[in-house]
């Protein structure tokens, strides 16, 4: 079905964030694993896979609307050199994702594309869950200090 061109642009803007997030979470996972922070590494790994599933859904939708998925376009991949910075960077990216999809949802309502709006709404909710997770980590670090927090993130031996 031929979709609205601006809706396809909005989906591609979302796709760029998903593709950026896959890579950003993946490198964070590998770095945390290297530092021995296995629990945190597992979290970032799961987020990376989650973003890949999101990218798949967005690509499927763009193709359904007969648009071209911009699979080679990325935003800046932020690679924090400390676990705390990595959590901060993922928070920044997720906030950008929510803002981008919310703008897309507003457009979908204008042009009456409930299918795309539904997909984007689900993406917003999942991104908000990631934002909530990051903010919880900020609270934990503030309450117990970075050393104790990191001790908690070591977890079991590397997978």
């Amino acid at each position: 079905m031929k979709g609205n061109e601006e809706v396809i642009n909005a989906l591609n803007a979302g796709l760029t964030i998903e593709l950026t997030a896959i890579n950003q979470y993946f490198i964070c996972s590998k770095m945390c694993s290297d530092w021995g922070l296995n629990t945190l590494a597992k979290h970032f790994y799961d987020e990376s896979i989650e973003e890949m599933k999101h990218a798949e859904e967005v690509i499927d939708r763009i193709l359904y609307l007969e648009g071209k998925p911009e699979i080679a376009r990325y935003d800046t991949i932020l690679v924090g050199d400390t676990p705390e910075q990595q959590i901060r960077d993922s928070h920044t990216l997720e906030v950008k994702g929510v803002a981008t999809y919310n703008e897309g949802i507003a457009l979908c309502r204008e042009v009456k594309d409930a299918g795309t709006s539904d997909l984007m709404e689900r993406m917003v909710v999942e991104s908000e869950e990631s934002i909530d997770w990051a903010e919880t980590q900020f609270d934990l670090i503030k309450m117990i200090g970075i050393e104790k927090y990191l001790a908690q993130q070591m977890g079991a031996s590397a997978e």
Binding site: E6, A13, T16, E66, K68, P69, E70, I71, A72, T100
Partner: protein, 116 residues
């Protein structure tokens, strides 16, 4: 669904936009201090400039008030100097969609700093 007629996985939408802009003769005035246009900045970048300082050394752009640094950075990223005007066009400077782009604010701040 039916397949789009041309190459389905375009390498980079923004690069094609940049080419279209150039073909259309829309050569943006990037640096008003030294009267340097986008095509000149792009030539310097194509000759190997990799930073704003190197672009300034090559053609003067960016050596004055500094308000054009965001535009030069976009060219360095392979994007059009001008932030995408569409609501969902991605800005090469901040990576946000046009509706959420903060670069104009950034440029105004830089201009204010330069005049202060």
């Amino acid at each position: 669904m039916s397949f789009p007629s041309n190459n389905i996985l375009s390498a980079c939408g923004d690069c094609s936009v940049a080419k279209e802009l150039q073909q259309a003769g829309d050569d943006l005035l990037v640096c008003s201090c030294f009267d340097v246009r986008e095509s000149t900045v792009r030539e310097v970048v194509e000759q190997g400039a990799e930073s704003i300082a190197e672009v300034t050394a090559g053609c003067g752009a960016g050596g004055g008030c500094g308000a054009c640094h965001v535009r030069i950075q976009r060219v360095l990223c392979g994007m059009p100097a001008k932030c995408g005007s569409g609501r969902f066009d991605l800005c090469g400077g901040c990576g946000s969609i046009g509706a959420l782009c903060g670069c104009l604010i950034e440029e105004e701040n830089q201009a204010e700093l330069a005049t202060a």
